[in-house]
């Protein structure tokens, strides 16, 4: 096991990783920006190093400063959390060159899955169904031909992208050229790469993803599925496991495809294959996240596993301790993400100071928070404040506990997604598990 792990992140996930290290008796090194001097994740770590000014590219995204912090503190491993540098193969490679273990998959796997159109081709080659689309990135001229083959409506996506940036829906052939130019410009601005590919746009699909775990010694298992259909701007707000009412045959197909896909790329450590499932039960791979995910707690709550502890063990060279037939879903769990965003103004960011923060407690409620009363919620970082996770013997109980948890939560000083989450949890379609990814944009929870 490691001497000390540098946690290259902030907020709730940095605290989660520190907790996992503590369970293993491993020392922790936190990092922080000037904006985060007083943040809980800094106090949690055994020691902490100032990286630089508040903007992420001068602190949490600055590879040299992070490697230097590891050198100066004697850390021998780096856990990247999610976001920031977690899916940068260059960072993973730089860690290896500096003699540090990157707690995550091999560089080649990060690189292969980071190019989303390349990832689709690789997965299709492994027999994993993909959404009908172009064979890879296309030029504006090639897009015309590819679009005719794929059919309308379709969606343009950035090859280097993620987080919904650079995506554009196109309903008619006459709209294609203008939409292509706009999406390419946004992708170029966001990722430094304007390459686009296109896919069939699915009406009202569900987002179902499969947690996989490999040990780099040939073993790949799955830890079942998560339903993450309630999203805004292609980013998740509510997740649960199991996916409600998912046909067992479809579920088997999804988990088998996910394991086959992960095996095909020699995957190690924690990863997630994301799928869309249409009304007919057909499922399509959309992308793979080569890191721990925000919503990993719902999987932990139903399986009893500690995914972050296992990430550290496997990164340290230990074989995976889980057998597939021993990984069982018991009961149900749901997660709500509380963001500093205004749900009544199309989820606009709402930075500010938390003048009041009351978090719920009690049976079967898990709170993962990166903030406390008095915290300044900065414009420089992601707007996630905390996550609430509840467990139940069944879905109804987990949802009912979540409704109570949301009612016991109070935030003042910034606007948050709490009112939205309360409305969503009370919605009849959510109660009966009839979910799809377009519910928020269709205004179901206004």
């Amino acid at each position: 096991m490691f001497r000390a792990v540098l946690v290259a992140n902030r907020g709730e996930i940095a605290r989660r990783v520190v907790r996992a290290c503590r369970r293993l008796g491993v020392a922790t090194v936190g990092v922080f920006s000037e904006a985060d001097r007083d943040a809980p994740h800094v106090r949690d770590a055994d020691r902490a190093v100032l990286l630089g000014p508040a903007p992420a590219r001068e602190s949490y995204l600055d590879v040299e400063r992070i490697l230097d912090a590891a050198r100066r503190t004697g850390a021998d491993a780096v856990h990247p959390g999610y976001g920031f540098l977690s899916e940068s193969w260059r960072f993973a490679e730089a860690c290896a060159r500096a003699g540090l273990t990157f707690v995550g998959p091999p560089v080649e796997a990060i690189r292969a899955m980071g190019d989303k159109s390349h990832a689709r081709r690789l997965m299709a080659g492994a027999g994993v169904p993909t959404v009908p689309g172009s064979a890879g990135a296309v030029s504006a001229a090639e897009a015309e031909t590819a679009a005719a083959a794929v059919g309308f409506p379709l969606i343009l996506k950035a090859a280097a992208g993620g987080g919904g940036i650079g995506m554009a829906r196109v309903d008619r052939p006459t709209d294609l050229a203008a939409a292509f130019a706009g999406a390419a410009r946004r992708a170029q601005a966001a990722f430094g790469d304007g390459a686009l590919y296109l896919e069939r746009y699915l009406e009202r699909p569900r987002h179902v993803e499969v947690q996989v775990f490999g040990d780099g010694r040939g073993t790949v298992v799955h830890a079942h599925e998560r339903e993450c259909s309630i999203q805004r701007r292609h980013q998740k707000l509510i997740e649960e496991s199991p996916a409600p009412g998912l046909d067992p045959a479809i579920k088997r197909g999804l988990t088998e495809a996910a394991v086959a896909g992960a095996r095909a790329i020699g995957y190690a450590n924690a990863g997630t294959l994301e799928f869309l499932v249409d009304a007919a039960g057909r499922f399509y791979f959309i992308e793979m996240n080569t890191r721990i995910q925000v919503e990993h707690p719902v999987t932990e709550e139903v399986t009893g596993l500690d995914l972050v502890v296992e990430q550290l063990r496997v990164a340290a060279g230990e074989p995976l301790r889980w057998r597939q037939d021993e990984i069982v879903q018991r009961g149900a769990a749901v997660e709500c993400r509380v963001y500093a965003e205004d749900p009544d103004r199309n989820f606009l960011p709402s930075p500010g100071t938390l003048s009041r923060l009351t978090l719920p407690g009690g049976e079967a409620i898990r709170v993962e928070s990166g903030v406390e009363t008095g915290a300044v919620v900065s414009v420089h970082y992601d707007s996630l404040l905390f996550k609430l996770v509840t467990r139940g013997d069944d879905r109804d109980q987990a949802l009912s506990r979540m409704r109570a948890a949301l009612d016991a939560t109070a935030v003042e000083g910034v606007r948050t997604t709490l009112p939205f989450l309360r409305r969503a949890l009370a919605h009849p379609d959510v109660r009966r598990g009839a979910l799809h990814t377009q519910m928020v944009e269709h205004g179901a929870f206004r």
């Binding site: 987080g163 601005a189 966001a190 500093a340 965003e341 103004r345 606009l348 960011p349 709402s350 930075p351 500010g352 414009v379 420089h380 970082y381 992601d382 707007s383």
Partner: protein, 71 residues
């Protein structure tokens, strides 16, 4: 009548999309703010000519701050 265009959120000026003297239409982006990893345009409330851009790239603006003046 000159009209002040105000930031509707707190953020950092990511990009200045229009310059002094530009003719803009209603809904055209005047500047783009970056806040919490999101890029949010501040749009012209009506058609007109940009008389002044009151901010610079990289500057932090608070919700309600004037970012430009439209004529």
């Amino acid at each position: 009548m000159p009209e002040q265009i105000k930031a509707h959120i707190t953020g950092v000026v990511f990009q200045i999309a229009a310059k002094t003297g530009d003719r803009v239409g209603a809904g055209d982006p005047v500047i783009v703010l970056e806040s919490m990893k999101m890029e949010i345009p501040v749009e012209a409330p009506r058609a007109g000519v940009v008389r002044e851009i009151s901010v610079q790239e990289g500057q932090t603006v608070q919700e309600g701050d004037t970012i430009a003046v439209l004529e």
